[in-house]
Symmetry: C3
């Protein structure tokens, strides 16, 4: 699909809208209310299959027609979903195989959502038919600005149809059973296969331990790849139907940040635009949310849609705190700052009943425009409407990249050992947080991406190391790049087989790992930075390493035998440097290391925050738009050294010197770029 033929999604300020849940007589009133908040779009038809197709041979678009027609009347842009994310009762009753079988071998029944088996022929056929009907009817509808396939894809199935398709998938991948046995090291525990149909999905009944770990890592990886692919195939089937009827309108499905099940980098290639749902909890940091945005931006290195966010509280978390005044405004601007080109909410009107009834909405069940939440949303709507529209064609610029690798995520989570305290996302976040705190933009990239435009590339916990990446990193460092990796990286090949002898990066790093010590609750290991002499705690794991050319930046201090062993190493390689971090660093040491490497990468740190002021920019050819965001519910001060700055939200001048930011306050400055800054 040529990117050029896909119309860009315009700026949307809207949200999910499920009027089928309340009387038709009230619909237009709701629309008129949200118009007061400058809402200009609605995401519809997400969960209507059972209404659209009341029985196998009957379709009924009466209600959807009315909804579309009402929205058109009010000039709403429509994000139209395909409604395939929840199965009608009649379908589950008639076709058992449409429902997933869980890891305990138990077939699910009618209920919940996101639980269709992607390898069910009946489900595939019925979904294809439904989307065909929808496209026949609405395929040319010009108010539809984006097609939204299914919803929040995720979860795996372990049924017989999946088993059959898994075998086919394996046959294509491995050609022979010998290759399969070798890749999986299947002679382990007598797992050798002699016929393809001896393979079964690695469930709790077979090769998955109670704690979710795998007997054969290669099999577990393949099953995750296969299930991610199976859901992707389902997506692609729906996409193909849509494209049969409509060649240009962008197609998406809503992602969920750092989820585990799907390899979003692989998926993103097939989406015209990435969209995602941002649901921070009461204890989610602004940095963690920023990381999720940046990951979603990185998937295609393009602006994304913020498909869903709660205008105030969620309902499904343990403690669903209200958002503070200004917080949803801050979150909306933060999203835009990181690359969102839409600001959408779940949902326009609060559910009357059902498990989401206590989730906040723009119009609550009080039915009023005078609520705090409504007024805050309306302020955002008003502001965004007036925003410089060039922002929507601006892009991010980063000199730092973190490699995010779903396969390493999977591999670590399937590995038995070395410690329950190793969490892939935490490892990524440990590095991200440093750059975030110092207002340095980070790209999330995959194994397959080009490294040459970066000064610094980081591969935390890069457990699975493919030769192609190893080569690319060597070239990158050789040409002057700075590369950082750490413990539990460089461990296995793509089939979860340990490297024998040297790991592919050992030479580049100028060191090798002999042992990996899991720290226990009785941990007494510290790490001392050579330069500063400062000591802080080591955490999670300590690699016991040997130098082979590298020098020591920090060493362990411990009563253990690896006292004075390297804790952080640096290796000059060609024109660049490669770093290895043997343990989980304290924030203080990460701060030291980050700055040390920034200096090496000749990257300067912008004026440091006094506290938690986030500063991040989007760029057009001519302008830099800097978003200055108070991430906290208290006033903060930042120091402005640039004269003649204007906040383009309020159109007020920003003085030089100390600038007071209100709780969750937002400023956006526009700076004309010199030609050489492009």
């Amino acid at each position: 699909m040529n990117q050029q033929v896909i119309n860009k999604v315009p700026f949307l300020f809207g949200g999910d809208y499920n009027p089928e849940q309340w009387p038709e007589s009230t619909w237009e009133k709701d629309i008129k209310m949200v118009e007061q908040a400058e809402i200009n779009s609605a995401t519809i038809n997400v969960f209507s299959w059972s209404l659209l197709q009341p029985k196998e041979n009957k379709y009924d678009f009466t209600m959807l027609d009315k909804i579309v027609s009402l929205l058109k009347k009010h000039n709403f842009k429509i994000v139209m979903a395909t409604s395939t994310a929840a199965l009608p009762g009649w379908m589950v009753k008639k076709y058992k195989d449409v429902s997933r079988v869980n890891t305990y071998g138990i077939r699910q029944g009618f209920g919940k959502r996101h639980n269709a088996c992607p390898n069910s022929p009946n489900f595939q056929k019925l979904a294809e038919d439904l989307v065909t009907q929808i496209m026949k009817r609405y395929g040319q509808e010009r108010s539809v600005v984006c097609w939204h396939i299914s919803n929040e894809y995720g979860g795996y199935c372990y049924c017989d149809n999946c088993a059959k398709e898994f075998r086919k998938w394996l046959k294509i991948k491995y050609t022979t059973i010998e290759n399969l046995n070798n890749a999986w090291n299947a002679n382990f525990w007598s797992h050798t296969i002699h016929e393809w149909d001896e393979v079964v999905p690695p469930s709790k009944l077979s090769d998955e331990f109670d704690n979710g770990k795998a007997v054969l890592g290669g099999e577990a990886l393949d099953y995750r790849r296969f299930q991610s692919d199976s859901l992707l195939n389902e997506f692609l089937m729906e996409k193909a139907v849509i494209r049969k009827f409509n060649k240009t309108t962008p197609i998406t499905t809503n992602f969920m940040g750092t989820q585990e099940d799907l390899d979003y980098f692989k998926w993103a290639r097939h989406l015209d635009v990435v969209s995602w749902d941002n649901y921070p909890s009461f204890d989610t940091t602004a940095a963690f949310t920023a990381m999720n945005h940046d990951l979603m931006y990185g998937l295609k290195k393009q602006p994304f849609m913020l498909m869903e966010q709660a205008p105030s509280q969620q309902n499904w978390q343990a403690f669903n705190a209200l958002k503070a005044p200004g917080e949803i405004r801050f979150l909306s601007y933060q999203a835009v700052a990181h690359g969102a080109n839409t600001v959408q909410f779940f949902q326009l009107r609060q559910a009357r009943s059902g498990s989401e009834k206590l989730h906040s909405s723009i119009i609550s069940n009080r039915d009023s425009t005078q609520t705090r939440v409504f007024k805050e949303v309306a302020q955002i709507g008003t502001e965004m409407k007036q925003l410089d529209t060039n922002i929507w064609s601006s892009r991010r610029k980063s000199k730092v990249a973190i490699i995010f690798d779903w396969e390493s995520f999977w591999g670590i989570n399937s590995s038995v050992g070395p410690t329950v305290n190793l969490h892939y996302i935490n490892r990524i976040y440990a590095y991200y947080k440093f750059f975030y705190k110092n207002n340095i933009s980070v790209d999330f990239i995959s194994d397959n991406d080009n490294l040459s435009t970066y000064k610094i590339v980081i591969a935390p916990a890069h457990y699975i190391l493919k030769p192609k990446l190893a080569n690319k990193i060597s070239v990158f460092v050789n040409q002057g790049g700075n590369f950082i990796t750490d413990f539990m990286s460089n461990v296995v090949d793509e089939n979860d087989n340990l490297f024998q002898g040297n790991g592919p990066l050992d030479k580049l790093l100028g060191m090798w790992v002999e042992e990996r010590d899991a720290l226990t609750p009785k941990n007494d290991v510290e790490l001392q930075v050579m330069d500063t002499g400062r000591k802080t705690k080591a955490d999670v794991l300590c690699d016991v390493v040997h130098l082979d050319g590298a020098e020591i930046l920090a060493k362990f201090q411990t009563s253990k035998f690896y006292n004075n062993y390297p804790a952080i190493t640096q290796n000059k390689f060609g024109k660049g440097h490669a770093y290895y971090v043997c343990t989980a660093l304290s924030d203080e040491t990460m701060d030291w290391l980050g700055k040390y490497i920034l200096k090496k990468g000749k990257l300067t740190i912008s004026e440091k925050n006094k506290e938690s002021v986030e500063r991040i920019s989007r760029y057009t050819d001519k302008y830099q738009y800097e978003f200055i965001l108070n991430t906290q519910d208290r006033e903060q001060i930042y120091h402005n050294r640039t004269s003649d700055l204007v906040d383009i939200v309020s159109n007020k001048k920003i003085n030089t010197g100390d600038v007071h930011l209100k709780p969750f306050g937002v400023l956006i400055t526009r700076i004309k770029l010199n030609e050489d800054q492009n």
Copy 2:
């Protein structure tokens, strides 16, 4: 059934007796031993189905005949159970459907107890046959003073027979599928039904989340109602058989206090007398036990049977501490004080083996009357035998009522959000405890009860609010009553649909709730009482409310935006007042509020306890019997201002001034009432 034709249960001092578990040769010795403790009754035949009916077409009453005959010989009164609470092995083997299917779709096998499917036609027929046989044989047995159907009903089933009956139940309730879809808001997540047989029980395989919460609240409520009704129907079937053969002997089944599964108010209408099993744990407060007694009394507003209690330790709790000397005596008198007309134990003789073998009994396996437990029981028996028998026809009197609503209990427990810290029973207890500590008698009432006799009515966490109750409360307040409700009340209708616009009680309360903030572990919200200026912690949830006529009794103090917002409101309405409590109060603030409202209700607080002395009364037309109970295992003092009082247990005079109560000591005074006190 006309209440008049049912013979009252006489005072029973007895307990469960399962002689089929040991050799017949030892039975009479046991009876003679417990006679020394003044035991006068035995509950028998609770778990004997497999003995009574060794195969489908054979009944054998040999052993039961002997037991009955032995008990008659010793003039024991018999509580005769129907033995339907545990299934024989042959039955489970032959009729699979008699066993329940659990929420994971797994059919149970032979074993345990309380696990028959109430909707199994085979179970129904076999149970009916068994009870018929029992009644043919013992229906006219005069020593039987009470029929005890099954045992400790509870638990739900999710089998196909239940599914079928659920659909029938729904069809009767909703008539049309449209009504059903509308009541359940079934368009949510494509749950729209088109044929009745698309409905499936909301299990973990369908609409119940892993944490037990519901997708469709209305469906979950209906399934709970249906399962409660299904078990009730089973009870009613057995009751009908009994009444075929015996028109006058009271019929009961033993309840379990604040359990969740069954709507006891609905059940209690069909019991001639409520009975219940009291099993406090080592950390159960006397107040919590009192609350359970009062709930059981409130079900019929009549004295109840204390069907079971452990003479000392239980065995099935985490830490089965011994009861201290005097503790079981205290518990027995506490039960009588709250309305028990029997004092029964589990059990007369300790099980020889089986899962209850380590549960205390009157005769332990030491086979001696010289044990501490035996002697304590004997003392109670001796005292109770000599007690003024008018007590058994006395009643409770309360000017305060707390509405206990199993449907709100269910609705909150099925709702996703807003906080895992919200527990219905805790909310009830928070109010109850205040009155308990101040020796003020409380009635537990249902939605359907008359309010007019009370000065104060409290509806904590009254999540589901039906219009009829709303009206009744308005009339009550208008006529001078004091009504208190709190957060998570007044939220949904009986189908779990959020009220749109105003809630039914908003006008009465003179305020409305805009938002509900779930407090997190990082909570920094306090509440300040306007009158006293005292600040204490808020807990669980904080409602953000707006006044619409009400005044503020307390306000929030917090760094959050609702600083200075109302925390407790008071609204004058007609001649009365309605109060709204926006958060979970500290004990101190509850104490302040309780006293404030008592003053409004013109109720005086009796002499306050120095420590934990419980004082509660039962009344005949002529007398007040006040029970003065030391709830603690240490001496306590209370102040007596009334002269000429006699403790009718010891027949000793009670001096005025400081009265020393022994650890767990008990006094009962009898005060002649003035005519106007009736």
Copy 3:
């Protein structure tokens, strides 16, 4: 099998070897590498069924032939396993019944290991065929020094075949259904059986509660006995096949210390030599490991094989810390000190992939002899090769015995109540630790063993007390022995029926238990030793007892009613003394009691450790070999009073006075025995 005809296993320094997991081209290199560490043996063929038998009618020994031939070439001694511990995929596909059904009634599929149903006729036949083929081929192979049947037996099955065999097992045991009902007290909860086929395995679907406790204790005990027997029968079937082809080579299977599932005393009678796998965690004390060794020694009162240990970290624990330098050497010598006659590792070469890939091995994936682990293993190998070979025919000597009783372990774990804090292994360890700390050798014995050679016999938590043992203990004490037992001992007979009236040991103990108080988190019970006046905390349970001849050694101090009641009693009986300990003692009080009883038993305590130096001896007719082991990762000092001692490991003289032991340091002294010391 006559013990004499079985060849003794020679000293092995080796480990598991799974070359089928990597290319054949690398095998010989590995063998040559481990030869540098003095490795002289390999355990092979543990998990190769699927390679050996690629389909039902085809065997293929090509690879095993090569492995055996390579090992022979290098003069390795072979421990040959039978490969029956993990099922091939084709077998699970064709014969469903070979896989176990779990306690939730769910049949397992292909995967994992240790999950064949021992009562599956198909599994039995296929296993028998496999072992027959192996024996035909390798039965006369002289390099095989030990046959290793299956692997780490354990776990239960609940399938229909098990149900059928359980009924047969019961029929043989009980002859009549009446006997069964009586033994199980099956009239409890209507569990009376009328036909044998009404019996079902006590699973979660039937008579096992969610917390694993039993409805009928007798049934639970019988099912554990039956499952332990079923696996034993499977072992015996394999053993019989082996013996058909080979009359003399020792046969073993590897045990797992204090595991719960199997009655190892019963099993050990059928093993020619006990072997076991020692996997201490980072927080396992040296004392606990010692206890496991002693239990394994006690099973046959003979030296055992240390079949597996990790040369450094494990991978399957929560925190897999590295072993410190010297730690594996210490652990190896500790094993030998306690009776190991082999030192074997898991495994010679690190797995390439699979769930054990992160488990340490002698050759790691670095493929080097220069790793720390390799060098430490090589040091041990070199030392052990030079060790006085008389050690391998030496034995342990103990005057103290602790009775370890799997049936009491099972009975306590199946009992509902009295406290979740009662753990059988902890109770055993509480006593063991005292003797360990004082360097006093302990035998673990079973109910069936002879007591007459001991001065002190301890039966902690001996819940099930059989008459035969009671008699034996009485004779033992009467003749001058010192017997100690404690709370939750002497409670039930072998069918889990409570003793009625006196327990079998009451007379011997001179006291009886009236009540058992479970201590709660609010515990305020102390115990005061009469002699010293010292008070320390009581824990877990407090028995309330009455003296009947015994005297008080310690009494309770508490606000509870049993203040001043006996906490430890002593009863003179014949020439000896019997002790009863009413609660879980603090270490301090255990220390007092232990020393008090040692004095009674006329046993002296050897020079006490300054810190944690373990001293334990093995004896030949002529020599005592004392192992002096620093159990800690820090230098320690012990005081040596014997002159002319030589450390036979280093051949260095040991001075009298303070001897410095390096971290994890080891000394072995050889002392010639006087004739009267034999």
